[in-house]
Symmetry: C2
Subunit: 342 residues, 2 copies
Amino acid sequence: MRILVTGGAGFLGSRLARALLQRGTFDGRPIQALMLADLFPPAADLARDPRVQVQAGDLMAGLPALMTQHWDLVFHLASAVSAECEADFDLGLHANLDTTRRLLDACRAQAAAGGPVARLFFSSSVAVFGADASLPLPPVVRDDTLPAPQSSYGIHKFVCEQLVADYTRKGYIDGRSARLMTVSVRPGRPNGAASGFLSGMLREPLAGQPSNCPVPADTAVALSSPANTIAGILAVAEASRERLGGRLAVNLPALSTTAGEMLAALESLAGPAARALVSHEADAATARIVGGWPARFDAQRARQLGLQPDADFAAILRQYVADHPQAVTEPAARRRLGLDPG
Amino acid sequence: MRILVTGGAGFLGSRLARALLQRGTFDGRPIQALMLADLFPPAADLARDPRVQVQAGDLMAGLPALMTQHWDLVFHLASAVSAECEADFDLGLHANLDTTRRLLDACRAQAAAGGPVARLFFSSSVAVFGADASLPLPPVVRDDTLPAPQSSYGIHKFVCEQLVADYTRKGYIDGRSARLMTVSVRPGRPNGAASGFLSGMLREPLAGQPSNCPVPADTAVALSSPANTIAGILAVAEASRERLGGRLAVNLPALSTTAGEMLAALESLAGPAARALVSHEADAATARIVGGWPARFDAQRARQLGLQPDADFAAILRQYVADHPQAVTEPAARRRLGLDPG
């Protein structure tokens, strides 16, 4: 089993790569090669693994070189993010639409040349959903809810879902798409995304840094932990066509919670000192954007694949602490979380 | 008002061009120029009009020449048809997806260069709807029904709807898409389309020729006459953004009827001799394809634009006879229809 991961050095790509290497098999077959293609090289622990190959640079430009080898399975995670696509329309079309099209055609050419019909997982996004004047978002988003993307990023994701379905129908690939939910808690530095506070208002206080919650406490959001997101990607990628139940994109499960519940979990686990580092300066623009996102899902097809949302936000927070103990530096939090010898 | 019609020499394109020239205005502004771009030159009556310009050839190749002039309004009707796209995957991608993308970028460049922000009507299709394993088609298709295209043609149409919506959101064009229903009665020769009998089993008997109805009499279908289809195109193109109610594609209205009702209308209007020319050799493949098409629509947004389905199939048939009296040659039918002096 030879696997290509685009975006393989990113946050989710690296985590997926580690999960694949640790399992050692996919769909019962041993993993012989794992190519991590990204703008940047992957982390050292990944690059060291003898099964790992690396190709850094623009994916479209690098496709001919990548496709000199054949791939049984492709995880297509590479993407320009939402803010980039809004700022640079052509960049978004290039990175998300044209590159995906080129990748699909490369897989089609591989099969036409007698190589394997690649299984291809396409990483779509909850960003396909949005409210249109003619179509308010329903209170609960279901698998048959009509997307009305309100960003170029969401448009590109939804368009690529359609192309993946058609290349699959024609037998050129064995494609499947899953819509990833907002991932929290993301490690690392704050970014400019409207969703940034959904990680930052936990991560920064745990590191002893001030942070801000720009939305009212009762603002409802739908989240998935990194581990649950990876589990969803693997389950959709590994499912038979019969279990997938069609060619349409699968909504991954999401925990429905609120900003207030998230901060209550922070205080409960890390203590009042960490919680006190979170200010409440309202930001109307962020509140409007986040308020336009779907907050409740009935992810029936994902359930049929055995996928469940995270149990509660405290479980998500405990996962972050377990994965990144060195990122928790606020002294009282370290003591309460058992990270310092008592 | 300078208007470009792609596919302007086709059946609907020609009819649209005649309607525009006859009106003389669009949205209250006089029509100064009407460019008909198509693989083929338009009919002589159109080419003669001093307002008409003609460009024949592949649309993508011809775009640079077309865009040396500016256009206030673009009707994008040009398309490879369903059977062509299934037979030649690359042709379909070129003609339907890549050419539309290039046209959108050309309009965007026109606006960026200080020219008008073009209003653009995109001709989508009922072919976006289909049944997926995870998503059976509902009994009545509504404006918020999730499309699951089952053909490359349907995929391309649905994808282009998304691109039109995003270019519009960004202000590069003032785009709108409408999904055209199966048009009956089409004049001309039989073609290989699965829907061909929905025109042929009326048109051929009226011309004294045998024809076949390959589906059971109770097979339900959704149809629109040519005149009603053109009225829908013009109404969606002329509507203000407020009246359109959003950027999503509008389902045009459709008459829900059955194969049996269509043949009863034929007998009632044209007499038993014409009706007797229709045989009933079942074709399971055609019955399966046509049975998978939606047959009932609740076209709420179209209604809000004042659009209604044709009254009944007899009205559609009378329209065909009025538009193409010379195509009715079956003697008894001509007498009954008053086409021969009594």
